[in-house]
Amino acid sequence: MRITRVLSTTLLALGLAATPAAADSTPSASPSEDGSAPTTAGTSFRTATEVDQGRTATASGSAGDYLYWSFPADAGQRPTVTAKVKLPEEHTGQTWQVDVYDGLRRRQSCQYGAQTRTAAPGTASLELACVLRTVRAWSEPWADDPLPGTYYVRLTVVGLKTADLGLPVGAELRVDSKDIGGSAAVDGSLAEPLVPGVAVKSSADDEDDPSASAVLSSIEPDDGWSSGWWSTAGCGPGSAACWPRSPGSAGTP
């Protein structure tokens, strides 16, 4: 009796998990798994298109749309977001802006880069950039330091005349990052990267529930998240962290 039940449940689960609709609705681990870059953009945090670092995502939209992408960033990286907007042939001048949010949807500041730019009437394209702060492995909850996890990019027009509303525009987005290395390393690490829905995802994995196939963010760096147990902030030959700072700090760990 019990065996029958288990067997039938397994079969049912198999059938459910693999019917065409469900199969299609299972997001592949990451859109760029097959090496191609996405050609669409999402319209909200929830539907943001996932794009890996080092790939150029493209999207077509209309002036007035809010275009969302998300990318993974790990500790020690300093991501640079560059966006290129192809403007319609005729327009009356538009101001575009790129904003970056972290996995908690907190706005992240740009160290430098032209985050907002205005295109004069007739300009064919404009480029925006945002260099984020270095992603730290750990920070206090009261700080809004960038932490490893999902990052959201929102590209939108902020200054627009009604005549330009809805005109077709093209967008390109690319995220590259510079490895900062040990100088940015901190002690401590998060148990889970700042990926929205990570708690739901891990519990769904346990239960193997086919209905929980859609996740908020399934993003992960190519070589996985750094676990944090090995820190380059240790005692390298040139690292000042090893040496006594001053007699006053003696004994403090």
Partner: protein
């Protein structure tokens, strides 16, 4: 590559479906998949003005028909597609009758391409433009199921059925919390129409596009239908209270709610020692807002002490304002330590000009994640030996020992050389 994956997935699916089909009546399985199938309702304006010949030399209607044919061919298998018309049947002058003129051309369901195309071919531009009533009916068509729902409205003129403002209708539909998005496309639009259609889109988190050419129309509708097929997490509707005591207790997940201007929303989360609470909140600007706004999320103990807060402020055009917070609760020595109730308070400082409706409130999206706590400052200095005076001591000791060892070795070598 994606195609290959889909093909492979399809094959697997076929196999599995066969296996499952042997053991179970097919109906049960089909029900399960249709329940969360994405639904799209295409709402097409067939009013008299669609006769105008200004899209690539052809009439607007011809462009729409051609676009529909191509879209119907490209619609993904899993999408349940329906078509609704407005202004297709009543050619008269009576506004009252003309404004009720909306009909379901093809019901929302599994798509029979030939039938749907045949239905579209019969359309001739006729009557009024009752956008508001058509949207209401279109939303009814999509009722039921847990999948994503999308209305694509294609129109060439603003609503001619005042006083029912289609923008208000859209907001009411959004407020039902059925997760419905309305995308609008304006054919050869004028200023007033642009404003109206983009207002409808913004009220539901959709997009507005101006269309001047047939291929633009085809591409955009295809893109929107494909977007509907993309899987998204469906949020759970909840209702925050005005104080922590009455607040609903949330577990990890995605929630939606509504928050009015100046309203407080409270939620509770139970947090075990050694766990970390992550909450992020977004409040959408779904109506015309004043250009300066803010959002505050606070984690507060049941006794009212603030633990941590997330703040956001901004100005200018925006769709949403969002912020979040993290609260790692310290490990407890006591294994039986009870979970702490954390109250999460959400307030916004949006404002709108007089005359803008304040109810229903703005859509609020809340993500709650309870994960293991962070590990703080792992001691790379190995119990303090790696730095400070301890390190100097260790180096002196090591140097002394090395010296002794080397000296001893040298003596031994000299002794060996002497004996030989």
């Amino acid at each position: 590559m994606i195609r290959t994956q889909r093909l492979a997935a399809g094959l697997c699916a076929l196999l599995a479906a066969l296996t499952a089909g042997l053991a179970f009546p097919a109906g049960a399985v089909a029900d399960e998949t249709t329940a969360n199938a994405p639904k799209v309702n295409l709402v097409l304006d067939v009013s008299g003005s669609m006769r105008a010949k200004d899209i690539d030399g052809g009439s607007r209607m011809a462009a729409a028909k051609q676009a529909f044919n191509e879209v119907l061919d490209a619609t993904p298998e899993e999408v349940r597609l329906g078509i609704r018309t407005l202004g297709a049947n009543y050619p008269g002058d009576d506004q009252k009758t003309g404004c009720k003129d909306t009909a379901q051309l093809y019901p929302v369901g599994p798509l029979d391409r030939t039938e749907a195309k045949a239905a579209v071919a019969t359309l001739t531009p006729t009557g009024w433009t009752p956008i508001g009533p058509a949207l209401l009916k279109a939303a009814e068509d999509l009722d039921g199921g847990t999948g994503s729902k999308r209305i694509v409205l294609i129109s060439d003129g603003e609503d001619t059925c005042a006083p029912l403002d289609p923008c208000e209708v859209a907001r009411e539909i959004a407020a039902k919390g059925i997760g419905l998005t309305i995308d609008t496309l304006g054919l050869v639009p004028n200023v007033k129409m642009r404003q109206q259609l983009s207002c409808i889109a913004e009220a539901t988190g959709g997009t507005y596009t101006s269309v001047e050419h047939t291929d633009e129309l085809t591409d955009k509708v295809n893109q929107l239908v494909d977007r509907a097929a993309d899987p998204v997490v469906t949020p759970v509707a909840t209702r925050g209270a005005d104080s922590c005591a009455k607040a609903p207790t949330l577990k990890s997940g995605l929630y939606t709610d509504r928050e009015e201007f100046g309203q407080e929303r409270w939620y509770r989360v139970d947090l075990d020692p050694g766990k970390e609470l992550r909450a992020s909140v977004s409040v959408s600007a779904d109506r015309a807002m004043n250009p300066d706004y803010g959002l505050l999320v606070r984690a507060v103990t049941v006794h009212g002490r603030e633990i941590v807060r997330g703040e956001a402020a901004g100005n200018g055009r925006t769709d949403v304002i969002s912020t979040g917070l993290r609260y790692p609760k310290a490990e407890s020595d006591d294994d039986e330590a009870p979970a702490e109730t954390v109250c999460v308070q959400v307030t916004n400082s949006y404002s709108a000009a007089a005359g803008v409706k304040t109810t229903p409130g703005m859509p609020l999206e809340l993500t709650v994640d309870v994960v293991d706590g962070p590990s703080q400052a792992s001691d790379v200095a190995s119990f303090g030996l790696g730095r400070g005076w301890w390190l100097l001591g260790a180096l002196v000791l090591a140097g002394f020992l090395a010296g002794v060892l080397w000296g001893w070795l040298s003596r031994w070598r000299v002794a060996v050389w002497r004996t030989n």
